[in-house]
Symmetry: C2
Subunit: 92 residues, 2 copies
């Protein structure tokens, strides 16, 4: 097998691993969305506003606190800004 | 306990569950980043371009294929666009 074929095979293997990881991430994102919808329903009764910048900051700080890389905490902040925005715009 | 206190307590419990989910998501995002970096290193030898729109479309389609909601597949596409962008910009 040529070095090129070998590298292509190895990439295919790594992509299969990424596909497995993505299935787990999607399951967790959906679990997270369920909890976020439940929280949203409770907010009027709890007399809390729908948007809570303090909670968002708390989330970003927690993510950074247990981040072991290779992603930087700023990368996680970028990804989670999108997750939280999608979460806020979710239809119930 | 008032209904307001009760709702606030329930929100705190749900947020604790979200915190646990976030720890798992961050671990998986970092695993994913490791594999993506390994793929990037192999690409020159495999004679593949660094940016592969076909692979991105394949990822979006796979996500939609096993998505059970409550997130819509468009929501996953939005979140993953950010994940893939961060992944491409990652320093090795």
């Amino acid at each position: 097998m040529s070095k090129q074929d070998d590298a292509q095979l190895r990439i295919a293997e790594l992509r299969a691993q990424i596909d497995d990881i993505d299935e787990k991430i999607v399951r967790l994102l959906n679990e997270r969305a369920y909890q976020a919808l439940a929280i949203r329903e409770l907010k009027p009764e709890a007399q809390l506003g729908l948007y809570d910048p303090k909670r968002e900051e708390e989330i970003f700080e927690r993510l950074a606190s247990f981040n072991e890389g290779p992603l930087f905490s700023d990368d996680l902040r970028t990804i989670y800004s999108t997750i939280l925005r999608v979460s806020k715009e979710m239809r119930a």
